[in-house]
C-alpha cells in the first residue's frame, strides 16, 4: 500500500502536463541557509530544532517507518487535488522536498518562519506555484484537552503538550509578505480513529511528531497519562470503542508573480465604489454599451 521511499531527498523530475506541482517542505538542516540579498527576518524561536531533527531521525530509523505515513498518504492527494484546480497547463519541473519522505504536499515544520517562505519564493520561476499543507489549530484538540484536564486534576496545573500551530490568518500574511501572489488558503479535517490514547501517542512518536517546543515539560507522569487516557476515552470515544483524533490541515497555494497573472489594482485606482454594488447590473450594461 505504501510506496517504499528512501529518506528525505531532493527530487527533480519532469512532470506530465496538467499536473502542477512546485512544492517545498523543509527539513531542519536548513538552519545554515543564508538568504540572497542579506535579509534576515527575525524568526520566532519556538521549537527546539535539534530535538525535532533527532525525533525525525529516530522515527526514520525505527523498524517500520512507513506504517506511520498514513497521514501523509492521506494529505498528498488532497493537496494535489487543490493544485489541480489551478488553471495552469504545464509545469516542466517539480521540486518535491519533504520532511522524511519525498512526497508532494508534505507537512511543513510547524515553525513556519519568514525565512522559509522567502527562500521558496526566491527559488520559484515567475508564474511558478507553491502548494503546501500543514497542520492547523484544531489538530489533536482531543489530546490537548484530555491532557490539560487530567494534568489539572492530578497535578494542579498544566503545561502545553501539543505544539502551537500557525493561525490561518497568519498563514495568509506570511505568504503575502514573502511575495506570493494570488493566495489561497483553505482547511480540511481528517479524523483518524485509534484504539486509545497511548496508541495515538505512539503513532505520533513514530511520525516524529513528538512535542519539541521549548516550553514543554520534560516529564509526563504515568499517573497523569493514565488519567488523561481515561478522560480521552470518556469524553471523545466513538460508538465502537475507538477514540478519534482530529488532524486539521491547512492547504495553501501561492503563485510567483508573472505578468499574465491577475493582480490587485493600485490603491486609489478604483472607478466604482462598493456602495454601488447593488446597481452592478446597470453598471455592466453601461460598460458594454460604451465599449
Amino acid at each position: 500500500m505504501l510506496r517504499p521511499a528512501g529518506l528525505w531527498r531532493l527530487l527533480w523530475r519532469p512532470l506530465a502536463p496538467g499536473v502542477p506541482a512546485e512544492n517545498l517542505g523543509r527539513r531542519e538542516v536548513a538552519s545554515g541557509v543564508s538568504l540572497p540579498g542579506g535579509t534576515s527576518p527575525r524568526s520566532l524561536n519556538i521549537f527546539d530544532r535539534d530535538l525535532k531533527r533527532k525525533q525525525k531521525n529516530w522515527a526514520a530509523r525505527q523498524p517500520e517507518p512507513m506504517k506511520f505515513d498514513y497521514l501523509r498518504e492521506e494529505v498528498r492527494p488532497r493537496a494535489g487535488l487543490r493544485g489541480g484546480a489551478a488553471p495552469r497547463p504545464y509545469f516542466s519541473l517539480a521540486l518535491d522536498l519533504g520532511c522524511g519522505r519525498g512526497y508532494i504536499a508534505q507537512h511543513l515544520n510547524k515553525d513556519l518562519s519568514d525565512l522559509v517562505l522567502h527562500h521558496i519564493h526566491y527559488v520559484l520561476k515567475p508564474d511558478g506555484v507553491f502548494i503546501g499543507a500543514m497542520f492547523g489549530g484544531d489538530t489533536l484538540y482531543e489530546l490537548r484537552c484530555s491532557l490539560q484536564l487530567a494534568e489539572t486534576e492530578r497535578e494542579g496545573g498544566f503545561s502545553p503538550h501539543v505544539s502551537p500551530f500557525t493561525a490561518i490568518n497568519d498563514l495568509g500574511h506570511l505568504l503575502g509578505r514573502a511575495g506570493f501572489n494570488t493566495l489561497t488558503v483553505d482547511t480540511d479535517e481528517i479524523q483518524v480513529n485509534y484504539p486509545g490514547m497511548f496508541e495515538l501517542m505512539e503513532d505520533l512518536q513514530g511520525m516524529g511528531e513528538s512535542n519539541c517546543s521549548w516550553n514543554r515539560k520534560a516529564l509526563l507522569h504515568r499517573d497523569t497519562m493514565l488519567a488523561a487516557a481515561a478522560v480521552y476515552r470518556e469524553m471523545y470515544r466513538n460508538e465502537d470503542g475507538s477514540v478519534p483524533a482530529t488532524y486539521q490541515i491547512y492547504y495553501m497555494i501561492g503563485w510567483k508573480y508573472h505578468d499574465s497573472q491577475a493582480r490587485p489594482a493600485e490603491r486609489g485606482s478604483a472607478t466604482v465604489s462598493f456602495g454601488e454594488l447593488g446597481k452592478i447590473n446597470n453598471l455592466m450594461s453601461q460598460r458594454k454599451k460604451s465599449q
Partner: protein
C-alpha cells in the same frame, strides 16, 4: 535514550502494556472520566484532586491488572 538501553527497554515495554491494563479497568476509567468531564460543565470548576477517589480506584485496578499479567517480553 542513549544512556541506559536496558532501563529504557524496560520502561517502554511497561508503557506498551498500558492499553491492555487500562482495558481491564473499563468501569473505573469511565467513572474517573465522567467525574472530570462533569467539572467542565458550566458552573463546574476543575481543581486538583477533585476526582481523587475515582482516580485511586482506577490506579489500584490498574496496578492489580499489571501484577496479574506476567512482566515479560521485549
Amino acid at each position: 535514550m542513549s544512556a541506559n538501553r536496558a532501563v529504557w527497554g524496560r520502561v517502554r515495554s511497561r508503557l506498551r502494556a498500558f492499553p491492555e491494563h487500562l482495558a481491564a479497568c473499563g468501569p473505573e476509567a469511565a467513572a474517573y472520566g465522567r467525574c472530570v468531564q462533569a467539572s467542565t460543565a458550566p458552573g463546574g470548576r476543575l481543581s486538583k484532586d477533585l476526582c481523587a477517589r475515582e482516580f485511586e480506584a482506577l490506579r489500584s485496578c490498574f496496578a492489580a491488572a499489571a501484577k496479574k499479567t506476567p512482566k515479560g517480553g521485549c
